[in-house]
């Protein structure tokens, strides 16, 4: 253990910096990814645009409001109310006020008609004009106020629905945003919003459980199958922070790492940590090794310059492929992390020999039924101990004191993982209690319980004692 912290950061995770990708969180709860170039302008569509230089230097997590000339002002958080004291319908209500609201809301509701978009009297053209005309720092608030005054039924609404309305409008029109570091949760969130099938429905909590059950940590050496375009690999790399390595097996000529383009790792570090190999090379290593012998120095010196470059590139590539094949052949990986739609009951037996003893096996699928077949295959294989299908689901709450409740609806996704431990069964000489000695047990029914490591539910053992 180092006596003082000497982490060499590969990228800045604390302060918003140039030449990095960042996640931009919008009031609509949408997210964007932007690359901060010096002199760059980031366009947020209807939320406006701003100069990258305006946000650089602040801590990640900082919120901003767009003001005139594509400048920004830092604000404390995205829902901050500029002039709370001046507004009657401030979202910050005391407990007593809330109690009152609950007690009276029946009465309040009595005089309202259903609120639809028809009571809205401000046209889109009006809104556009307002947006164009305003250049002041509070344009968003102004638009909302204008809309409220143009809203026929607004004063007849209950406090509740007024606030909901206000929040909806704020989300839609306030020119505010938060700049966040792209951790693995943020990268996953971006793809969930953008293209859920691409990440095969993995939720944040399931990604977290893959990494924990897989015992992912700095310094490990993992075998990985990742069909998410690299989201899982990125999550592993973030946990490892430059230490350790992984071999990624893929099924195409080239692996799809498109998600890693937002990762901002230096190319050499990424290449050092992530080795790739295709299934043909993995399964038929002897056939797939490249026949390559380096030429001697003299021969090399005699090559033309263009030939030299080609020679070096090919030499590097042949050595790379051969070295990865060697690493895969050697095996003893610290975990199997598998996020794939391949049929595992036939594939898994080929992979298991490569995983080290007592190391975790973690397999993800969007569908429990597919893991079920794999689990049965593991149970008859004996090289995976105690495989279980694990489902983890997070329920988020509307976290407003006095109005606390789970969110009413959520997208239905999440997936399942199958977790077990790679073990080395004895080939012979093992007699399970309750199997080999069934007869004895029948004679004396209290003598020995049944032992089936995979499924039986039994009591705890007796205590350890010195012999």
């Amino acid at each position: 253990m180092s006596s003082d912290i000497e982490v060499k950061p590969v990228k800045n995770e604390k302060v918003i910096s140039f030449n990095q990708h960042v996640l931009i969180r919008l009031p609509s709860e949408g997210v964007k990814i932007a690359y901060l170039k010096e002199e760059g302008i980031i366009n947020l569509g209807k939320f406006g645009s701003f100069q990258a230089s305006g946000v650089v230097g602040y801590n990640f997590g900082q919120s901003f409001e767009i003001i005139e000339d594509e400048n920004v002002n830092p604000i404390s958080f995205i829902g901050e109310v500029a002039d709370a004291s001046e507004r009657e319908d401030t979202p910050e209500l005391s407990k007593d006020e809330l109690t009152m609201m609950f007690s009276n809301s029946a009465e309040n509701n009595q005089n309202i008609i259903n609120i639809g978009s028809k009571v809205q009297q401000l046209s889109n053209a009006d809104i556009d004009e307002l947006k164009k005309s305003g250049a002041s720092s509070n344009i968003g608030q102004q638009i909302i106020e204008k809309m409220i005054s143009g809203h026929g039924g607004f004063d007849k609404k209950t406090i509740f629905s007024q606030q909901k309305y206000l929040k909806r409008k704020q989300q839609k029109f306030l020119r505010r945003f938060t700049v966040e570091y792209i951790g693995s949760s943020e990268l996953l969130e971006y793809f969930i919003v953008k293209d859920l099938p691409r990440v095969h429905g993995i939720s944040e909590e399931t990604l977290g459980s893959i990494l924990s059950y897989g015992n992912i940590r700095p310094g490990g050496n993992y075998l990985v199958i990742d069909e998410t375009g690299g989201v899982v690999i990125y999550a592993m790399l973030e946990r490892m922070k430059g230490e350790g390595s992984m071999v990624v097996v893929h099924e195409n000529e080239h692996v799809n790492f498109s998600a890693l383009k937002y990762a901002d790792y230096p190319e050499d570090l990424q290449n050092e940590m992530v080795k790739t190999i295709n299934w043909l090379q993995f399964l038929e290593p002897e056939n797939e090794k490249i026949l390559w012998e380096d030429v001697d120095d003299e021969e090399f010196a005699n090559m033309k310059t263009s030939k030299k470059a080609q020679y070096e590139r090919r030499s590097k590539r042949a050595n790379y492929i051969n070295s990865v094949i060697e690493v895969a052949k050697k095996g003893n990986f610290d975990a199997l992390i598998c996020v794939s739609t391949l049929h595992l009951p036939t594939l898994l037996p080929e992979i298991l020999p490569k995983i080290g003893g007592s190391r975790p096996i973690v397999v993800y699928s969007q569908f429990k039924e597919l893991l079920l077949d794999t689990q049965h295959c593991m149970m008859s294989d004996k090289r995976v101990l105690a495989p279980s299908i694990i489902e983890t689901r997070v329920r988020k709450y509307q976290t407003i004191p006095g109005r606390l409740h789970p969110l009413m609806t959520s997208r239905g996704y999440g997936g399942y993982i199958l977790w077990g431990t790679r073990v080395i069964p004895q080939e012979s000489g093992i007699t399970a209690v309750g199997r080999g000695i069934t007869k004895k047990r029948k004679e004396n029914p209290e003598s020995t319980p049944t032992q089936e490591a995979d499924t039986t539910e039994t009591d705890t053992p007796e205590t350890t004692t010195a012999s």
């Binding site: 809330l98 609950f102 007690s103 809301s105 029946a106 009465e107 009595q110 259903n114 099938p197 691409r198 095969h200 069909e227 375009g229 099924e251 195409n252 000529e253 080239h254 692996v255 799809n256 790492f257 498109s258 299934w279 043909l280 399964l283 038929e284 002897e286 056939n287 797939e288 490249i290 026949l291 390559w292 012998e293 030939k307 020679y311 090919r314 590539r317 042949a318 492929i321 739609t341 391949l342 049929h343 036939t346 080929e350 569908f367 039924e369 597919l370 077949d373 329920r395 988020k396 006095g402 606390l404 409740h405 789970p406 969110l407 009413m408 609806t409 959520s410 997208r411 239905g412 996704y413």
Partner: protein, 360 residues
């Protein structure tokens, strides 16, 4: 058409649920000369008359179809537009079961809301039971009253009332709704913003001769807290709060993508590449089974997205060729897929009982 019993053939005046798709079930009242127009075809009421309930009906112009369904409270609730205040079947079926609502039960419901739960109560209590429903919001009251009349909910009496302030008592109960001149409810369901203000009014209208069950339906936890205290103060016992989670799953098929096919395809790519490339390489080739360099070499190392992921419904042998789900030329595995949007919360359900003292 009745919510109390099935009929087999469609007649004029019936309410029929036109099933267009899972997301579109449209109630129509059969009237000669009218027509149902949908994106999936046009359907004449005249032709529906005399058809069997449950029958599939083809569109008038030769395309599209609907199914003509008999209304039930459960189908009715999913036919409603997804506005607020619908108590869906996962909640309503549990409340009915837990409070032992059966034929003959006398139910008190406030507020009526969309009237969805009222239908389920009316069906389950039957013509021997009674449903007393209260709605304080006048437009909703008028709408529900008309709907209940149209649906012939004979055992249901709706009252325009703010029960929180004015209680549940009805001055002139229609004779066939009264039990010794009183409401005498066996089961109470409160779907109100402040049930704790209505609970003290219940004593005058609940049964004096048997145990009474109650369920209060509130979205926020703070409402539950107040409700529990009010129930305790008013002598209700066995108070228990619960939540109901309902999930719906569809049957799907996933392609079985065997590793053998993957290996075959990789070999195929390599052999095609080997054939297509001129022998312009700089490699010392030795005899033997091992492959030659050109087969794996690639000049364009940067294009990592050249080959797409093979995802659901893609041909395992090549990229981008979509395979129809269930195509008999491939092997499939049955899987369940959850609905795309799930209801993660409806309301908290607070149950309790009131046991009147023994009459001596």
């Amino acid at each position: 058409m009745s919510f109390y019993q099935y009929k087999d053939y469609i007649e004029e005046g019936d309410i029929v649920l036109a099933f267009i798709s899972r997301q579109a079930i449209k109630p129509i009242t059969i009237k000669k000369g009218e027509q149902l127009n949908t994106r999936y075809g046009h359907f004449q009421h005249d032709k529906m008359i005399g058809m069997k309930y449950g029958e599939q009906m083809g569109g008038a112009r030769g395309y599209g179809f609907i199914y003509l369904l008999h209304p039930t409270p459960e189908l009715w609730s999913i036919s409603l537009p997804h506005r607020t205040q619908i108590v869906y079947t996962p909640d309503s079926s549990y409340i009915i079961q837990r409070l032992n609502v059966t034929s003959g039960t006398r139910v008190i419901e406030a507020g009526t809301g969309s009237g969805s739960f009222t239908h389920a109560f009316a069906r389950t209590t039957g013509l021997n039971g009674r449903v007393f429903s209260y709605e304080f919001h006048e437009p909703r009251y008028l709408e529900a009253k008309k709907e209940f009349e149209d649906h012939n909910l004979e055992n249901t009496l709706i009252t325009h009332r703010d029960v929180c302030h004015h209680g549940f008592e009805i001055e002139t109960i229609p004779e066939h709704f009264s039990s010794n001149g009183s409401i005498e409810g066996d089961v109470v369901f409160l779907d109100l913003p402040s049930p704790w203000t209505a609970i003290p009014h219940l004593k005058k209208v609940i049964s004096t001769t048997n145990r009474v069950g109650i369920c209060c339906f509130s979205p926020c936890i703070e409402q539950v807290d107040k409700t529990i205290k009010s129930l305790q103060e008013n002598g209700w016992i066995n108070i228990e709060m619960t939540e109901v989670a309902g999930r719906r799953w569809e049957a799907r098929k996933e392609l079985v993508r065997d590793i053998k096919d993957v290996v075959k395809r990789l070999k195929d790519i390599q052999s095609r590449k080997g054939q297509g490339i001129e022998n312009r390489r700089n490699v010392k080739v030795q005899a033997g089974e091992k492959r030659e360099f050109s087969e794996v070499d690639n000049d364009d190392d940067t294009d990592d997205q050249k080959f797409e992921n093979l995802g659901k419904g893609y041909n395992p042998f090549g990229k981008g060729i979509r395979v129809k789900e269930g195509d008999e030329n491939y092997e499939w595995r049955n899987v369940t897929k959850i609905e795309s949007e799930i209801k993660t919360h409806t309301s908290y359900l607070t149950f309790a009982y009131y046991v009147p003292s023994k009459e001596t």
